[in-house]
Amino acid sequence: MAQAEAPATPQQKPIVPFLRLPQGPGDKAHLQGSRCRQCGATYLGSRMACSRCFSTEPMEDLRLSDRGELHVFSIVHQSAPGVPVPYVAAIVDLPEGVSVRCNIEGVEPDPSNLRFGMPVEMFTEKVHTDRDGNEIIAFKFRPANGTS
């Protein structure tokens, strides 16, 4: 006889596969990257082969830093329906040689508040709850406090 399906326990899920949520107490959320063992090219997330040197050797898994520097930004005042504006859309460079596209929060969205190269740090927060009650977690960056 078929058993009634037990309702799934709502879980936290990352918004993109390269955001890794904490695996246990003491662990922190982090971004995952990969590095080509042949030429050293680094990537956000995973690649089937190195698009720089074409090596198909499995890449080295990288646990990316949660601190980086602001490379460039735009202040978005008009967006898709439902997206709150204005906000800072940025490219952040991480020390592993990986860039990441993200929002910068914790600062008024005005060019005068943003400095090229300014230190920023990653944090995570819930951005959505899906139909099954799962919490969708995203990463964002904010100006880094103190020294890194």
Binding site: H71, S74, V76, Q78, A80, V85, A89
Partner: protein, 380 residues
């Protein structure tokens, strides 16, 4: 490869055509281009159609059902914003290879008043759009960031980017094919609402509908049809090579530089030989980057170039005499062919009040994010 010439060129004024279908718009442009060439569909041996938003709907064949079904090969092309110019290149290759003597390339698009293009897409796995959560993948922000990168590198200013829009809107006043013909002052542009810093509303191209077509033949045959064949001196298509931040911050520069280098080599010409340029000014920020990418100024000199009016009609090297995408409009699939038409008209001396006097060599550049870049060098 043998020499190829453009013998017919036509476009519909870009704008809104809610009462027309995509094949009807394309068909109209084809008939005008054939008339310009003094040819009919009976002589055409291969047909290449560029359209993005109906890429699964055999637009080319549907155009032929409006204007002439002779059973010839039809190729439907989709390649982001470079769709039309890629269609042109396919037609060029068909003739240059010697396989066919007479080809049509048509680009057509009907966008209506659709919103911003591009996007972060679904978040892989979670199914949640990342737009506005993980930055922005919409074109205004992407090209905003590309402009901010130029500011960071060279100290380029908001005002310098704004001057590009002032110039192109001014140029549009003499182009009856332009979707918008509205002159804007520097204050108008700088005080308009910001879409994505540093691009304000007047620094972003509009969406719209339109079509453009070109008839090409082998150079041997061209003189049967026209006294002013325009030689395709180079036809180049590139995609983005590996670069450090590409795919995170789309690199619109490297593939344009690669295309320019190859185009100049193939044409045996350099940036100093150009009399006019139609480039991909989807946003005002983009135009300045491409001055350097196309080699018409040194690194970091693009801001100075626009300050000194060197790219105005009448300046050292006019850029976007048509009004550019910023004014003329950017119905995606049509854009690449329309840019080629504009250059053709200048080289024939038929560009009316916006004519670049004595133009002998022109360059048409298009970039589609993802990325695809085409450069065509045309010669009178």
């Amino acid at each position: 490869m043998r020499d190829v010439a453009i013998v017919g060129a036509a476009m519909l004024k870009f704008g809104r055509y809610p009462d027309k279908t995509v094949p009807e718009l394309g068909a109209q442009a084809c008939l005008l281009a054939l008339k310009d060439a003094g040819l009919t569909m009976k002589e055409v041996e291969i047909f290449v159609s560029g359209n993005l938003y109906q890429a699964n709907a055999t637009v080319g064949q549907r155009i032929l059902k409006e204007i002439g079904q002779t059973g010839i090969p039809v190729i439907n092309v989709a390649n982001a914003c470079a769709t039309g110019s890629t269609a042109f290149r396919e037609a060029y290759m068909s003739v240059a290879s010697g396989a066919y003597d007479i080809a049509i390339a048509v680009g057509v698009e009907q966008m209506g008043k659709m919103g911003l293009l591009g996007g972060g897409g679904a978040g892989g796995g979670s199914g949640i759009s990342t737009e506005g959560i993980l930055g922005s993948g919409l074109m205004p922000a992407v090209f905003g960031q590309a402009g901010v990168e130029h500011m960071r590198k060279y100290g380029t200013t908001f005002e310098q980017f704004a001057k590009v829009a002032v110039k192109n809107h001014k140029h549009s006043m003499a182009n009856p094919y332009s979707q918008y013909q509205v002159e804007t002052s520097l204050e108008d542009v700088m005080n308009a609402r910001v879409v994505a810093w540093p691009n304000t509303l007047y620094m972003c191209c509009p969406t719209g509908d339109g079509a453009a077509a070109a008839v090409i033949t082998s150079m041997d045959k061209a003189r049967q049809y026209t006294t002013k064949p325009i030689k395709v001196a180079a036809s180049v298509l590139t995609s983005d090579p590996w670069s450090e931040r590409d795919l995170i911050l789309p690199d619109v520069n490297t593939l344009t530089r690669n295309a320019a280098k190859e185009a100049y080599e193939k044409a045996g010409l350099g940036p100093k030989d150009l009399d006019l340029i139609e480039l991909h000014d989807c946003f005002a920020t983009a135009e300045l980057l491409h001055y350097e990418n196309l080699g018409i100024c040194g690194e970091g000199e693009a801001g100075r170039m626009v300050d000194e009016g060197e790219t105005m009609v009448g300046g050292r090297i006019p850029v976007a005499p048509s009004g550019g995408l910023l004014s003329k409009g950017h119905p995606l699939g049509a854009t690449g062919v329309a840019n080629i038409c504009e250059v053709v008209w200048h080289l024939r001396g038929e560009a009316g009040d916006r004519q670049v006097e004595g133009a002998k060599v022109g360059l048409a550049h298009v970039i589609g994010l993802g990325s695809a870049c085409t450069i065509h060098v045309l010669q009178a």
